[in-house]
Symmetry: C2
Subunit: 141 residues, 2 copies
């Protein structure tokens, strides 16, 4: 949290599977795919934003998250103004190619502009669920 640590580190470019980059279906969402940003250290879903092909390319090349703002119609790099940078460890593609998971090291205060670590800090509903039954093996007699 201290600013005494000196300048923020650069990102590290990712090793890329170009075939899979070509498999991203940008057409379905008018050039954009949702990018689910997840904390690589504890699995928290931090935020959701959108990438077009160029934002994905920049993310892979710089090792920091780039998005495309639908409202402002411009590219933005997370943390560029706030300092709350996201360094990317992995980008994953879903089965039908129209959504991404971006695993990051979240630096600074967190991912949310409110100061929360995650943008998903409000609980609409909660319950016990139905935990998956793990059968206890019956020992042979």
């Amino acid at each position: 949290m201290s600013a005494a640590a000196g300048p923020a580190p650069e990102g590290v470019a990712l090793e890329v599977d170009e075939e899979l980059v070509g498999a991203v279906d940008f057409a379905k969402g008018d050039g954009l795919v949702p990018a689910i940003v997840q904390d690589a250290s504890d699995g928290t879903v931090l935020t959701m934003a959108y990438m077009d092909a160029e934002a994905l390319r920049r993310t892979l090349a710089t090792g920091r998250s780039w998005f495309f703002s639908r409202s402002r119609q411009e590219y933005w790099q997370k943390g560029e103004t706030s300092g709350d940078r996201q360094y990317v460890r992995e980008v994953r593609l879903d089965c039908d190619g129209d959504a991404l998971v971006v695993l990051v090291d979240q630096h600074g205060r967190g991912a949310c502009h409110t100061g929360e670590h995650s943008c998903f800090f409000r609980t609409i509903g909660s319950g016990p669920g139905v935990p998956v039954h793990v059968p206890v093996p019956v020992p042979e007699p």
Copy 2:
């Protein structure tokens, strides 16, 4: 995995914060919000689908995940044909109200129609990231 366990259990209705249900911004996405489905047991992002107000209402009331299919223009309940049911523990809303995280107990084979546990089983790129620096306190002399 065994089918010997008898009929699948019912879901359990969630305790709901009605004010937050009203805070979901469906208008921005033409009546739909992306719902990020996450495994409550290990944090894996399982899939992403879309909910409208009615799908969210059904999810909260039944304790199982309901979505709205954009391509088929119809409601579907996860696992109804496959048996791979999602029992919901929690639904969270993001800061600007236009995305949901749904924490589930994933039963059956998994969330993906391919048989994978998660739909995000393909890695486009990977790298070391920049792990968050945890300063080691310097002891007072």
